[in-house]
């Protein structure tokens, strides 16, 4: 059991978060922040595309309904 624990990351010694540790943490945090900011920007773009697509679908549906109404009116006039 102890051998297994020592092979796991949780069994590893604590990270030396002294002066050097702060710089190392800083570098990795900067990388992570850049990545998160990029993903957030891309998520906003994808949301915008989704919203525009919804608007466009609504527009296409409304136009199709209008067309159907118009055709029904024409048929009514033609039949009468």
């Amino acid at each position: 059991m102890l051998a297994l624990l020592s092979s796991l990351p949780i069994g590893a010694p604590a990270l030396p978060l002294d002066e050097a540790g702060k710089y190392v943490a800083g570098a990795y945090v900067v990388f992570l922040v850049l990545l998160v900011v990029y993903v957030a920007i891309m998520a906003a773009k994808v949301q915008r595309i989704e919203r525009e697509l919804r608007e466009l679908a609504g527009f296409a549906e409304a136009r199709s309904e209008e067309k159907a109404e118009h055709e029904a009116e024409v048929a009514e006039v033609g039949g009468g």
């Binding site: 002066e19 190392v24 570098a27 990795y28 850049l34 891309m42 773009k45 994808v46 595309i49």
Partner: protein, 240 residues
Amino acid sequence: MYGKGLRTLSIATVATLALALSLTFFYAPLDADQGFIQKIFYLHVPLAIVALLGFVAGGVFAVLHLRGGDSRWDAYSYVSIHMSVIFGVAVLVTGSIWAKASWGHWWVWDEPTLVSFLIVFLMYATYYPFRYAIEDRERQARYASVFAVTAGAFVPLNFIAVRMAESLVHPRTFATANGGLPGEMMLTFLVSLAAMGLLWTTLVKFELTAKSASGQLKRLRRALDAPAPGGASRVAPEVS
């Protein structure tokens, strides 16, 4: 089309990044000279290599665009350069942090490696104003491709010049035949490099997919003759 395989690629990227971080902090031994600070090496150097290769890839895609005139290659070139500029920001920041911890200065102007990377980065930073100063889309793509080819050719030349120059403080890790790294460090470095390469590829694919969706949406809007939404003008190249 661009989104094909994106899920698999994303999973592979996250898994490789997790493995790289685990190896960095729990497997790779502490450097005898720098100690714990050297852990930045596994982030900073792969980022720099991938960023520089991304600039070269941008040049290769630009050549394909100039040869065939296919706007998809222009989009590939643009996104490759865009992603490498973002990686370049990370390289400069992580490098500065490492420099401060190791040498006591955020930046050393006498060091060829640092200054040459800054020159490459600033050169690519001019890509955006250069590109968007041209309104006509075809001319814009053509001129941007010429820029990408020229700058892409400059990157390896610059790298060779830096390797030939005398280094003052920046280490030459891979200057020896075996890379100058013990086995555990080399393995960790290679996994980190693979992780960064995968991350770059995933983000490029992600960005291309978003651009393609945006382009298709505009085509659909034009076909339906629908009104354009407010503030939706995009300057980046579209792919369909």
